[in-house]
Amino acid sequence: MRKLLLKGGRVIDPANGRDGMFDVLVDGGVIARVGRDLPAEGAEVFEVGRGLIVVPGLIDIHVHLREPGQEHKETIASGTASAVAGGFTAVACMPNTEPINDHAGITQFILKKAAEANLARVYPIGAVSIGSKGDQLSELGEQKSAGCVAFSDDGRPVATALLMRRALEYAGMLGMPVIDHCEDPSLKGDGVAHEGLHASALGLRGIPGVAESIMVERDVSLAELTGAHVHVAHMSARQSLRAVRDGKERGVKVTCEVAPHHFTLTDEALDGAVKYDTNFKMNPPLRETLDRDAMLEGIVDGSVDVIATDHAPHHADEKMVEFDRAPFGIVGLETAVPITFDRLVHSGKITLGRMIELLSVNPARVLGLPGGSLGEGVPADITVLAPDRMVTVSAGALRSKSRNTPFDGWQLRGGVAATIVAGRVVYSEEGGR
């Protein structure tokens, strides 16, 4: 296997306490050496441009790849193309496909398709319960053997406290986390927007923040009881953050993620110049300013472990309908880095090192994945970031099969120069892939 030398960039590698000008030599798909002025010695040289930053490959642990079953929205090939264009070398995909990934056979299918696409690494997440129906545990052990890295009934909460308890005990035995889409179904009802002033003004049925936090509180209690690891998906409500913080202070194994839209937008966006834009409809919904600010605070103070996109592609036809009939969700893989740079790093809220923790080190740690490090001997998954690149988001130019982004037309500072998986450049800005 050929060698690759990344020459001349600033390397930020929090896992190894490294921040400085280093070269990175890749050999055989793993990182061979990190050092100053490394000789090429027959390696292909990748000149890292001025001002670019070499970091461990970014990992998005909350992605919907839609295959099998909903290939009109996204395929594993298009989703991973979107991932690498967004700087992600690996994604973990949620099991709410058709059929639901509640079985080793489906996990194997996903991995086969991912190998064919040969872009980002794909880590399947298996369903907690058969059909994600909340009745009977899936064969979690078999799914783990097939390659699942975590369990979730995402799209729905793990239905009952009893099932969540058993899932945590059983997954804990396997050393795996349970990822919960925390939402009390009775409080959510048929809501379509955050319960508050804007939903009231627009006549949209509301979903209160406590619909989420009440289940976060349940899960934290059950993680404490079982000693297992619960990960809170797409956290959005300030009350949930409080519950996670309380849990962490007590030593409970609870981690959480926040999506870029939840630390950027608020429900006011529904009542803007264009009202009822379904690209602002997602679940959990965009919440009010207090919640958005709480998410920022959690990101800054370390209570939030991970930034994950909840990349949820939907076909334009499905979104061009009445607001209450449109599906929840937006695409996120190709906007996460520019938003994180622009809103968190350049605004001075977090350091570059913290950004890499949120997008690489911690995602790897939470799901127990290889990666999150540029240490010698680890797989050469590397992202080259362009912190000062001006990016204009264009929905029509996304690699994803779907265009449902609320950020169309946004101008953001910070982008991705190249994405390298196992020592192979799978995306580069210049290459125009």
């Binding site: 319960e195 508050g196 002033l197 804007h198 939903a199 009231s200 003004a201 627009l202 006549g203 949209l204 049925r205 509301g206 209160p208 009542d271 264009v274 009202k275 009822y276 036809d317 061009m320 309908v321 009445e322 607001f323 209450d324 009939r325």
Partner: protein
Amino acid sequence: MTTKAIDRVSGAQSAEAVPATALRSRHLLGIAGLDAGEITLILDTTEAMKEIAARPIKKVPTLRGRTVVNLFFEPSTRTRTSFEIAEKRLSADTLSIATATSSVTKGETLIDTVKNIEAMAPDMIVMRHASSGAPHLLSRICRSAIINAGDGTHEHPTQALLDAFTIREHKGRLAGLKVAIVGDLLHSRVLRSNALLLNTMGAEVWACGPATLMPAGVEQLGLRPTTVVEEAVRDADVVMLLRIQHERMHGHFFPSVREYFALFGMTRERLTLAKPDVIVMHPGPMNRGVEIDSDVADGPFSVILEQVSNGVAVRMAVLYLLAGGAQVHDEGS
């Protein structure tokens, strides 16, 4: 809409607003887009339209040659009939489509349905839909003028306009009046449109209903909330009841119709707390013995049927103004 609503509450817009000379938007999607001058223009125009209804031949050629499609995706008798009569009095060619006969049941999307209708070149589409914001969606793609005849739990602008016209006929003004709106606040598009309109015109709007039916952020909508009906009604110039829909009667919102009537029902006794010249309004259809006692509905303070009559004139005014405000010609006399 919301920040405007707040401005309107504090900004004390003048009720004696100078009428605008035309509407700025080519659609009527809600009261949210209207300023005091535009509202005054519609109400003043309504007076002229109302006069037509008093004639032996109730028809003018104003909209002759124009096609208006009434697209009702939700059942409605009163509003649809009112629009149809208004259109016919203005000599428009009209066509009404109700859900049961539409393509929606065949799986066609709203946009495709309306694009097909648009291909036949109507001038205006009057639309009722169960989804909040449906007319806003269409206004982004349609060439026709869209008139919102009620969208979900969002707005029902012509209802608020006819309510305002009726109040103005009785009180001579809107500014400074105490208007108590009692009923299912959470699900009412009539409430939202009335809150916007009455605040814009300087009235003081009280919203009363069970805590379970109180919308989040009610104060920021420009409403004074209370769960005590006596407090809402005391010294009110106008008492407006909102319908309790049947599907809400068997849920978590309140224990029983009986208890609702006991706590919130508008009775003659409660009405004595209001000003002596109070008027009682209801957008219909009424549930007698639920939100309103028959004594009140049929009593001397009730203007409920006047609201219905005025509805035709208000809709004529809106159709006329959106069509460009051409001169209203006399045909009959």
